[in-house]
Symmetry: C2
Subunit: 312 residues, 2 copies
């Protein structure tokens, strides 16, 4: 480890965030379909923590130090950046659709009017649909930019995470859980689909941007365990913040889960129990990172810390 330079997460994430914002600005279209382009940019460029793209780039970072040399590296950096932005676009589209009146009916997101409030419901629907398609579009540039093998793998991982067995499926379960008493296992299973699948995909897509044809089974398992713990911790903290934070800090309406009679980790475990659970998951995430055997997992570790400590 002696040759390893000290890792400055602040500097690293600052640099990555700049790259992400710059790329999204480039890839999300300006003027198209009347106000469709504007609504897409409003949804995708309006801030946010960019947790998914950071996870993706952190996973790529951890793989890169496997001693990667050779001509594929710029292609793999490009692939990881596209994967990072594609994950964020899927996340953005899900927020747009989630906020619509027929779903959560939210008027505020990141302190701003939601897309349907600003552009109307029909445009919000098309905005979300277009953001999903765009995610796959940026994953499939010309072959000279990203090898076909990687393009196909990234599309596979993302579509599985976004669809019926992942994010959208989890939202459907969530929808049908209103007013229903869930066990902790059921609640965790729902969140593993609803938010966990895309967070996991962010990690696995970043890790897949490597020279290895496929990841070893043990590395895959450890990374999945890390992502799973982080994803659940994220949701537990979300539930805690919905109770202890205020609308201004959070940038979205607080107390909505309780008002909608939705099961949460706080309603199930109590506030103290939820906080203890978050700590346990945090520790699990770090243990899984150690088990990867990767030389430098500091960016992934710092992101796990961030998820626990976040205030919004």
């Amino acid at each position: 480890m002696s040759e390893m330079k000290a890792f400055d997460f602040q500097a690293w994430s600052h640099q990555q965030l700049a790259l992400i914002e710059q790329s999204l600005d480039l890839w999300v279209p300006h003027e198209i379909g009347g106000s469709l382009g504007s609504s897409m940019r409003y949804a995708a460029l309006g801030g946010g923590k960019r947790l998914r793209p950071l996870l993706c780039l952190a996973a790529r970072h951890s793989m890169r130090l496997l001693g990667e040399v050779g001509h594929e590296s710029p292609c793999l950096d490009q692939a990881a950046l596209r994967a990072a932005c594609a994950c964020e676009l899927i996340h953005s589209y899900s927020l747009v659709h989630d906020d619509m009146p027929c779903m959560d009916d939210d008027v505020l997101r990141r302190g701003q009017p939601t897309v349907h409030v600003k552009f109307g419901q029909a445009m919000a629907l098309l905005c979300g649909d277009s953001l999903q398609a765009l995610a796959f579009e940026i994953l499939t540039p010309s072959e000279s930019l990203v090898p076909s093998r990687v393009q196909a793998l990234l599309c596979k991982l993302l579509s599985q995470a976004a669809g019926h067995a992942g994010m959208a499926g989890g939202q459907a379960v969530d929808l049908q859980s209103v007013g229903v008493v869930l066990t902790q296992a059921q609640l965790q299973a729902m969140h593993a689909m609803k938010t966990g699948a895309l967070l996991q995909a962010s990690v696995m897509m970043g890790a897949s941007c490597s020279h290895e044809g496929a990841l070893s089974e043990s590395l895959q398992t450890s990374l999945l365990t890390y992502a799973n713990a982080l994803g659940l911790a994220f949701q537990v903290v979300d539930d805690i913040l919905d109770v202890v934070s205020d609308t201004q800090t959070l940038g979205k309406t607080v107390g909505k889960d309780a008002a909608h009679d939705k099961p949460t980790f706080v309603s199930l475990l109590g506030l103290d129990g939820a906080q203890a659970h978050a700590q346990t998951l945090h520790q699990q995430a770090h243990e899984a990172l150690l088990a990867t055997g990767l030389k430098d997992v500091r960016a992934l570790g710092a992101l796990a810390d961030l998820v626990i400590k976040r205030k919004s």
Copy 2:
């Protein structure tokens, strides 16, 4: 041409349709996310002309006779079948979202209640979202089934056709054209995005399932011209049927365009003018097929005939 067997389009399309239905039945999930799976099956397996998958398989058929031999053929047949179903899933999702109250607010589709009427608006939203993701999921099976090169290309063509510069973008333009006087050029440009892009993609995706790394530029141009003429003819006939047909034959509410003050080819050219325009486009499609230089374009030709002669 002497060695060419007589082509029985009825028999060919009957066989292809069976394959398409069987594959969709296999690939669209059963039980997942409460009623999400049911809503997806309701939307995707509820009949329809299957024009897009047939175009895709017809294009593959026309390419196959370039003298294809070798180990890749079963993979390319598999790729074309997946491409065909993926195009249909994108079409299905667009109908589900299009029918929602915030869009066209339609209660009837193929003679049955629309998805949001049967499953609720929130589930219809998630159903469409999941169908879009599923399209990309079935395009990216294991590499042993479909070569990565083809997977990546199919995802690229489909995402471009579905997104902001294609179908969804066209719907956004359509949305903002209500009560606006469009020129014929503007109306055609809107439909080229709204319905044309996915019809074109169906043809190009099928043609891309071939040994050729990339299609020659002249072949590409001819196929695009064919698809473009067919797509516009489809829309002109749609506008004509909206006026001359009845709700029972059509399986959806007729007269809605006029009621919503939407520009159509009939409102622009009159009924006779629209019918003449459809004939011209029909002829253009056949001329473009001749110009491809492909040996057997009979399935593609028969589909152009079908589009013109359809009564629903």
